[in-house]
Symmetry: C2
Subunit: 284 residues, 2 copies
C-alpha cells in the first residue's frame, strides 16, 4: 500500500524519498528516490510518513530512525496499530524533539491508488493542519482528536464492519429459512434504512458464497481484539463487539484467510441444516 | 400512511374508493371516493389494498369484508404483520375464491407521499405481476417469494435496522471514552465500509442526543419480538437479534416512545459515568 501512496505524492510534485525492507519495492515506484538506508530516507525531511504492518513494526523502525531525523520535523504514522502503541510513538518522538500524528487509513490499495482513502488523523490541530495539504493527495483527511485518536477512529470503523457483517448474515439466513428468496429480500430492502456498504458488498458475497478475500477473517479478529483492548483500557462494556470477537475467533480456527463475510459460515454452524443458497463455498 | 397512498393512486388515474374507521380521514383524501362502509368500498373492485396497524386488525377487518368482495379479485395487504398472520390471510382468501399478496413497506409517510416506498411483495408470480403496475405508483416493488415472504423481508429490514443501531452506539461510545471526538470519527468513517443509513441518520441523532421519534422503541421491540418468533418458527438461532430483543425490552421499560436511537441510553446504562457528548437528552 506504501508504493501507490508514494507514487501519488511524487506525481503531485512533492520530493519523495522511500525506504522499504525490500529495496526492489522502493526502486519500482515511479518518481521516487529509493534509499538504501532509513537514515538516507529521513535526513533533512520536513515530513516523515510510515505505513507498516502493525505497531510492533513501528516500535522497531522508529527508534532506529530517530537519530537521523531533522529536529522539529513531523512524523505521520499511517499504520494501523493499537491506541497505546500510537501514544508510545507520540511520547518517543516528543522526547526526541519531533512531532507525531497517527493517521491510519481505510479504503485499501484501490483507495491508495485513486487518492480516495479515508484518513483518520490524531494529533494537535496545528500538526494536522501542517500535514493536511500533503495527506490530501492520498485521500480525505479528518482530524478526530489528539494523538492516538486516529487509531480509535479506525477501530470504530472496524467494529462497525465486523458487527454489520453479523447482522446481514442473520437477515440472509432468516430470509432463506423462512421461505423467502434471500437475493430478492436483499434487493428489496436496499436503499432504505437497512442500507449499508456491508449489505451491498458482503451481502452479495454471502449470496454467492464467495469467501475469496477481500478483508480476511484473521485481520477482522485482530481488529475485534484491539477493539476489546481499547474498550478495556477505557473501562467500557461493548456487548455486540465482545460477542463478535468470540465468533470471529471461532471462525478463524477453520477459515483464517477467508473473507470476513464467511461469518455466515459461523452462523450456519450454529444452525445445522440451514444454509443460504445452493452455490458451493468459494475460498480461492 | 393510507391517505397519501390513496391520493397518489387517484392522482395516477386509478378509480379509488376508500374506507377508514374515522370517516373524516377518508373524506379528506383528494380525488378519492370516501365510503361509509367497508362493503361499499370493496364492491366490484378488482384490487383491494389494506394498510392497518397490525395483524390483529387485519384478522378483524378481512372476514367482515370478504362477503362483499368480487370473486377472483386480488387483495394486497400492505400492513406489517407476522408471517403466520399473512399465511392465515392467504388461506382465508383462497377459501373464499380470492387471491392474496402481502406487501409491507419501508420508507414511512415521507416515502408514501413521494411514491418511493420499498414494497416487499409475497405472492404468486402472476399475482404480483398483476398488482405491480398499481403498486409502482407507490414505490419500488420487489417480489421476494410466495405469500408470507413480504413479512419476512420486512423483518429482515427491521432486524438490520435494530442491530445496526446497536453497533453504531458502540462505535460512538468507544470514540468518546477513548478520547476521540465522536462527531469527527463519524465524519471520518462515512462513505467507507462502515457507511450505512443508520450511521448517517441515527449516528447523528446519538451525537445530538435527539431521541424525538422517528421510529419508536416500542415499535422496534415489537419488530425484534416478531423476528424471534419467525426465527423460532424456522428453527433458527440468531444471536445478535436475540440480544437486541432483550436490550430493546429493557429500554422500552423506561423510554417506550423515544426514537430507537435511544438504544445509546441502554448502552450508557451498562457503562456508568460514560456518555456521548454533553447535550441534554431530547425526547419531545
Amino acid at each position: 500500500m506504501g508504493a501507490p501512496m508514494a507514487a501519488r505524492l511524487a506525481q503531485a510534485g512533492h520530493t519523495v524519498r522511500a525506504w522499504n525492507r525490500n529495496p526492489a519495492k522502493a526502486a519500482a515506484v515511479p518518481g521516487v528516490g529509493a534509499c538504501a538506508t532509513l537514515a538516507e530516507a529521513v535526513q533533512g525531511a520536513a515530513l516523515v510518513i510510515s505505513i507498516l504492518s502493525d505497531g510492533a513494526a513501528v516500535a522497531e523502525v522508529m527508534p532506529a530512525t530517530l537519530p537521523d531525523c531533522q529536529p522539529g520535523s513531523l512524523w505521520v504514522d499511517m499504520s494501523s496499530t493499537r491506541q497505546d502503541e500510537a501514544l508510545a510513538s507520540a511520547a518517543r518522538l516528543q522526547a526526541a524533539g519531533l512531532r507525531f500524528i497517527d493517521a491510519p487509513v481505510s479504503g485499501g490499495v484501490a483507495g491508495a491508488q485513486a487518492g480516495t482513502l479515508a484518513i483518520m488523523a490524531g494529533g494537535s490541530e496545528a500538526d494536522v493542519a501542517e500535514a493536511a495539504p500533503v495527506l490530501a493527495v492520498l485521500g480525505r483527511v479528518t482530524r478526530v482528536g489528539p494523538a492516538g485518536s486516529g487509531q480509535v477512529a479506525k477501530l470504530c470503523n472496524q467494529l462497525i464492519v465486523g458487527g454489520t457483517i453479523g447482522i446481514v448474515a442473520e437477515a440472509m439466513l432468516l430470509a432463506q429459512a423462512a421461505g423467502a428468496d434471500p437475493a430478492a429480500v436483499r434487493a428489496a430492502i436496499r436503499g432504505g434504512f437497512a442500507e449499508s456498504r456491508i449489505l451491498e458488498l458482503h451481502g452479495q458475497r454471502m449470496l454467492d458464497r464467495n469467501f475469496v478475500p477481500g478483508g480476511q477473517v484473521k485481520t477482522q479478529l485482530k481488529d475485534q481484539n484491539n477493539v476489546l483492548a481499547a474498550a478495556r483500557d477505557a473501562g467500557l462494556s461493548l456487548p455486540i463487539s465482545a460477542m463478535m470477537a468470540e465468533r470471529y475467533r471461532a471462525l478463524a480456527q477453520q477459515h483464517p484467510t477467508a473473507d470476513h463475510a464467511a461469518l455466515l459460515l459461523e452462523l450456519e454452524a450454529r444452525n445445522p441444516g440451514r444454509r443460504v443458497g445452493a452455490a458451493p463455498d468459494k475460498f480461492d
